[in-house]
Symmetry: C2
Subunit: 314 residues, 2 copies
């Protein structure tokens, strides 16, 4: 079987390719190489350089594939910089929403019937202390990042009525691991590399979130996708715990990278406008099917800190 993976040279793609390869499947990657890198991919993986935000990419990618049969489309391409999308709504419009629109056109063009999407817990918005299950509504995202993930889900759901046979929508919280291209761990490690004596943290450090290791995320998505029965399925994928605080993460990064650093916190509960300060995630649906992560949030963070530190040469 051959997977076509949009944005596959970025953070999640390499782990997904590894997971699929364990079951004997090939992958082809489409990436605009904005944050993705050729060197994230193993030698056998074909890379098509194309920006799916552009309408012309559909024709370009179809032509580069030259009639090769594609069995599944995994759509990972998206903006991953949430604050950038708060500043300028066109970022998520282009890199998350329009990449979905053109990925669906490409899937239809190629006759691909199975489409899987890396969505986000950000589609739920700020639900306070409510435990967030897939059955929760209304969905009121508070960032353009979350809005364009939800908008992408909506497009995919509609396409499943006509061109697609099957759509899997996977909503997950913060993901950590390597190759790190963005996120809190990379940010902290790089700050400490440039100044080992002080770590400046956005917000007051009390924000608490759940974290999933990227290897487990792809394992959970893969598990759900193999067992899909309905035309459309939505799964929360995440650890069962309620997460760890930014303060705790900062302490762990310092302990690994720069034990002498002083941690300086900012003001307020949120790191930025559109940041969900705290949420409680319900992952019972996937657990009932038989899958749950082996690492909780703290174990995922500790493992990823070491991986990111080594990636950054510290």
């Amino acid at each position: 079987m051959t997977l076509l993976i949009s944005g596959g040279a970025g953070f999640i793609g390499p782990s997904l390719i590894d997971r699929a390869a364990r079951d004997g499947h090939d992958a082809i990657v489409i990436d605009n190489l904005s944050r993705g890198r050729r060197e994230h991919l193993g030698a056998p993986t074909l890379l098509i350089k194309a920006d799916l935000a552009q309408a012309s990419s559909v024709e370009h990618a179809a032509s580069a594939l030259g009639g090769r049969r594609i069995d599944e489309f995994w759509h990972l391409a998206a903006n991953s910089d949430i604050p950038a999308g708060v500043e300028d709504p066109s970022v998520d419009l282009r890199d998350t929403f329009l990449t979905t629109f053109h990925s669906l056109l490409l899937a239809e063009r190629l006759g691909v019937r199975h489409f899987f999407f890396a969505s986000s817990s950000a589609v739920y918005g700020d639900q306070g202390s409510t435990r967030i299950s897939e059955e929760l509504g209304p969905l009121l995202p508070i960032s353009n990042y979350g809005a364009m993930k939800l908008a992408s889900e909506a497009q995919i759901s509609a396409a499943a009525e006509s061109a697609l046979g099957r759509a899997g929508l996977y909503r997950f919280p913060n993901v950590v691991g390597v190759p790190a291209t963005h996120g809190v761990l990379l940010d902290f490690v790089r700050k400490l590399k440039s100044n080992p004596l002080q770590l400046d943290v956005l917000g007051d450090g009390t924000q608490q979130k759940a974290y999933l290791h990227v290897s487990e995320l792809v394992d959970g998505m893969w598990f759900a996708s193999r067992r899909q029965q309905a035309r459309r399925e939505v799964f929360n994928i995440g650890p069962a715990d309620d997460g760890v605080s930014v303060q705790w993460i900062a302490q762990q990064v310092c302990a690994r990278v720069a034990p002498q650093a002083r941690i300086a916190f900012g003001q307020g509960k949120k790191g930025w406008v559109g940041d969900v300060p705290r949420f409680r995630y319900d992952t019972a649906r996937l657990a009932a099917l038989g899958w749950r992560p082996t690492l909780d949030s703290s174990a995922a963070i500790v493992r990823a800190i070491d991986e990111v530190a080594r990636q950054e040469g510290v």
Copy 2:
């Protein structure tokens, strides 16, 4: 107070302008006049001709307004032809999604803090016999029409976190009345006008839907918007009944317009791909605030048939 109404020269706008005028408020309309018409508007209403699907419309509209204070933005502009969007996803992308994107930019540019949106029950998708309340998830639209309405809700929700102070999202089923620019009644009346002996109906006529009269829709939206407390509020607006069948509607239109016509039904439960054959709508939330429509689905249809027939000169 002055309302700025996108798509206001179409079907819903004239009734909204009437409703606001009853409370002493003015309206300014932005419309691309694709289905909207200047003659739908009373003489005092300023009309800015602009296509909000285009980025350039933001500057054009802001300049045409010349610094005039706008208190509320009512975003009605959208594609209203559901089958057209099934054939070509770019229709809803352009006329529903991108008009929302640029309406939000325009609202921000004008410093408008209150934004109200004509969403749709189509955001829920096909929920079978489940009674559909605002708390229902996941939202899995089955048409591009519903997808781009949901995608628009998502954008507005995110904007409410930063630029906007208040966002009201109103989800309603089929709406009937005048000026009719689209919909089943106009379709049937026009067909019977051209052939009074036969009425061809898409689908087997058993599709059952709830209908709301446009005068009551705007009354319900207006009521909800005046009482809004939270930053974001979502309301189902519709009759309390489970609707009437297409067969019954066809019979009523024939009785009014061409009593001698034979009704010829098609095959299948759905009129087209992406049509939700039947749904049960929960409107308890708005009823608890004190508003419910005075006409049920059948009364709304009977009243609207007469209005549409007179509009079409029969």
